[in-house]
Symmetry: C2
Subunit: 381 residues, 2 copies
C-alpha cells in the first residue's frame, strides 16, 4: 500500500494547536485578525436565503468565475475567458485536480527546491514521482534560481513541473526573463508548468511577474491562486486555477468527480472579497508590519552569529539559515523548551536542511513574544 | 490523456439551472426549503469569532469527530473511537480519499448496478477500472440483489467494491444477511467494501442495516456518510468516513495533501446539525411527503401503461421503468418540450437503460407541476 507521511509543518502545527502555551510560526496561514468582518457580514446576508445551500457547478459559481476573470483581465490588460477559471478547494485542491488530470503512473514531476512540502504527497498519491531538484541557492547577495540544474534533471518521464512564485519558503520572485525562459523550455519539451501564485499580493520589494497572461498564449502553463492568504480565508477553502482552454473540460470533470464542487458558502465569501479589493491591502499591510517587527527582533540573533537570512522580497516567510547541517533537532528543542513552533528546513526538499522557516503573518504581540523566546533559547540558551 | 465525461445527471442539471422555466428532478439534492435556519443561525454566531477562519486538522475538527463518534456509538450501541472518523468534502470526497488510498493503477472496482454515476469517474482518475455488474434486478415483487453475479465478476485484480445502501437509484436496502454475506466474501478475498450510506435516514418501509458497527470488527469495510441529505446541506460540502483503524493514517495523509482540510465553516454547520438531531426528522418528513405526492400523481402514468415502478423503500429517488429499451431520447424530449429534468437510466450503469430516475426530495408545488407536465407529455403527448 502507498506509503505517505504527513509533512513536518503540519505535524508541528498540530502540536502547537494542542495547548495555548505555544506560539506558532509554523503553518503558512495569514493570522492577523481573521477573515475581514466585511466579508463575514456579506456571508451572513447570504445565509438568510438558500443561495449557498445546494450543489453548484463543478467549476464554480459562474458569477464568481466571471468576476475573477474580469479582475484578472483588468489587472493584466488581457481578455481572459471566464471559462478558463476553475474555482477549487484552495490552491492545493487546484494542484490536486491538475495532477490527477495530467499525471500517469510513473511520470516524474520536477520540484525546484526548497519548495512547498505539500506538493510531493499530491504527486505520490497520483502514483507519480516527485523529483526534488536543488534549484534555489542563497549567497550573501540573496536567493538565486539555477536553470542549469533543471536541464540536468529532465528525463523522458518528466511530465510536470510545480513551482511556487513568490517562492515558499525562500521569499524570492522569479524575474521576467527567468519565467520566459522556463515557459519556453517547458513548452518545447511538452512539460506542463504549474505556477502556484498564492502569495502574489504579498510583494515588499522589487518586481513581481505573474504567469496569468501567459496562460492565454501557452498550452503548457497553468496558474493556481487562492483567497486563503489575500483575505485570511484559509478555513473557507477557496482557490482557483487559470488553465489553457484545451485542459478545461478534463479539469472540470475531475473536480466534478472528486468534489462535486467547492464549498458554496466559501465561494460566496470569495465573491464578497473580490467586491472589496481594498481588504487585500489591509492584510498585506499587517503582514508587512509583521515582517518589519520580525526583522528588527531577529537582529540580536544575527549579531550573535546563530542565524543569517535574506530579507524576503515577497511571501509570508523568513527562511533562516542556522549553523546546523540539519535544523531538525534545533526546531524540536525550540518547540519543546521555548514552546515556539517553527518548521525544519528538510521539510522543503533538497537544499533546505540547514534552515528554519518562520511565518511572520501573525499579530504583533505574537511575533514579539515568540521571537523573544527564540532569542532567549538560542542566545542565553 | 485521460478521457472522462461528466455524468448525464450533472449535464442535465446544468441545463435545468440555466432558466427558471425548468423544473428539475435530476440531481439528488434535498430541496425542501433549504438548510434549516437553526443551523444557519448557529453559523452566523460562529462568524462573529475567528473560529472558522483558519486551517484545521486534515481529518476534521476534533469536536465534530468526537460528537459524531458519540452519536454513532449511541445509535448502534458500539464504542466507536472518534479517531476512526474522518470528516470529508461530502461523501464523494470521502470516496475519492479512499480510492486514492487503496487503488493502484489497473486495479478493478466492482460496481453493483444500477449504481450512482459519480463513482466511475473517481475510479478512472485513480487510473483503475470501474467494472459495472448487473446485480440489482427488478421484478413484480420489487428489487432484488443478486450475489451470484459478483462471484462471476471477481478477478485477481479486484481490489474494491462500492455500493450505495440505501441504493441510489433503486431505493432498495440490503438485508442483514446479504450485508453479512457481502462483508465475509470481501474479507476473504481481501477486497475493500465501501458502503455509501448517505440516505441512511430516509427509510420509509422495512428495516435498514448500517455497516457502521462492522467497521469495528472487519478490516475491509468502510462506511461513508454525509450531512448533505440529512440537513439539506449539499452546498456546504461536509461528509465523513468511518474507517478501520489500520487505514486511518493513510486516509488522513491523503486528505491532508488533496484538501488540507474540509471547509471549516461547513464543519461548524455540521456540528450545529448534530446538536439538533430533530432537524433530520423534519427533512425526512418533508421528503416522505414528496414520495407520497409523487406516487399519487404517477398513478395515471402507471394506468396508461407508460411507466412501472417499485415504490422506493428508502432514499430520495423513484426509478421508473419505461417501455423504451433506452430512455435517453425520452428524457431529452421531456427536458426540451416539457421543461422537466430527469435522468436517463443508462447513467447508472448496466441494467438501468430502460429507466428514468426522478428525485422526489422537492417542494410539493414543484412535484405537482413537474409531474403534471410529464403526464401531459407522456399521455396526451
Amino acid at each position: 500500500m502507498l506509503n505517505l507521511h504527513i509533512p513536518e509543518y503540519k505535524r508541528i502545527e498540530l502540536i502547537a494547536k494542542s495547548s495555548p502555551e505555544y506560539i506558532s510560526f509554523a503553518q503558512g496561514a495569514v493570522r492577523v485578525g481573521g477573515t475581514p468582518p466585511e466579508i463575514k457580514a456579506d456571508v451572513s446576508v447570504i445565509l438568510k436565503s438558500d443561495q449557498a445551500d445546494y450543489y453548484e457547478p463543478a467549476a464554480g459559481i459562474p458569477m464568481l468565475r466571471k468576476k475573477l476573470a474580469a479582475e484578472l483581465s483588468e489587472k493584466f490588460s488581457i481578455n481572459l475567458n471566464w471559462e478558463q477559471i476553475i474555482i477549487t478547494h484552495g490552491a492545493i485542491g487546484g494542484i490536486t485536480t491538475i495532477c490527477l488530470a495530467l499525471l500517469n503512473p510513473g511520470d516524474e514531476v520536477l520540484l525546484p527546491s526548497p519548495t512547498y512540502p505539500s506538493y510531493a504527497n499530491v504527486i505520490r498519491f497520483c502514483r507519480a514521482e516527485p523529483k526534488f531538484i536543488y534549484a534555489f541557492h542563497e549567497d550573501d547577495k540573496g536567493w538565486h534560481f539555477s536553470f542549469d540544474v533543471l536541464k540536468r534533471s529532465v528525463t523522458p518521464k518528466t511530465r510536470v513541473m510545480i513551482i511556487s512564485n513568490p517562492s515558499n519558503p525562500c521569499g524570492f520572485c522569479l524575474g521576467k526573463q527567468q519565467l520566459d525562459q522556463l515557459m519556453a523550455w517547458c513548452e518545447e519539451r511538452g512539460i506542463f508548468l504549474i505556477v502556484d501564485e498564492v502569495y502574489d499580493h504579498f510583494i515588499y520589494e522589487g518586481e513581481y511577474h505573474s504567469v496569468t497572461p501567459r496562460v492565454l498564449t501557452h498550452r503548457y502553463v497553468l496558474r493556481t491562486g487562492s483567497f486563503s492568504k489575500d483575505y485570511a480565508m484559509s478555513g473557507w477553502r477557496v482557490g482557483f486555477i487559470v488553465a489553457p482552454e484545451h485542459l478545461v473540460p478534463l479539469l472540470k470533470t475531475i473536480q466534478d468527480g472528486a468534489l462535486c464542487c467547492a464549498s458554496v458558502v466559501g465561494q460566496f465569501a470569495a465573491y464578497s472579497a473580490l467586491e472589496q479589493k481594498h481588504l487585500v491591502q489591509r492584510q498585506v499591510d499587517l503582514v508587512r508590519l509583521g515582517r518589519e517587527i520580525a526583522s528588527e527582533m531577529l537582529k540580536p540573533l544575527i549579531e550573535a552569529g546563530v542565524l543569517t537570512y535574506t530579507k524576503p522580497q515577497a511571501g509570508i516567510f523568513m527562511f533562516l539559515k542556522t549553523n546546523e547541517p540539519n535544523s531538525e533537532d534545533l526546531v524540536n528543542r525550540i518547540l519543546e523548551e521555548a514552546k515556539v513552533a517553527l518548521v525544519p528546513g528538510k521539510d522543503f526538499g533538497l537544499g533546505g536542511e540547514a534552515y528554519i522557516r518562520l511565518c511572520f503573518a501573525r499579530e504583533e504581540a505574537k511575533i514579539v513574544e515568540g521571537i523573544k523566546r527564540i532569542q532567549k533559547f538560542m542566545i542565553q540558551g
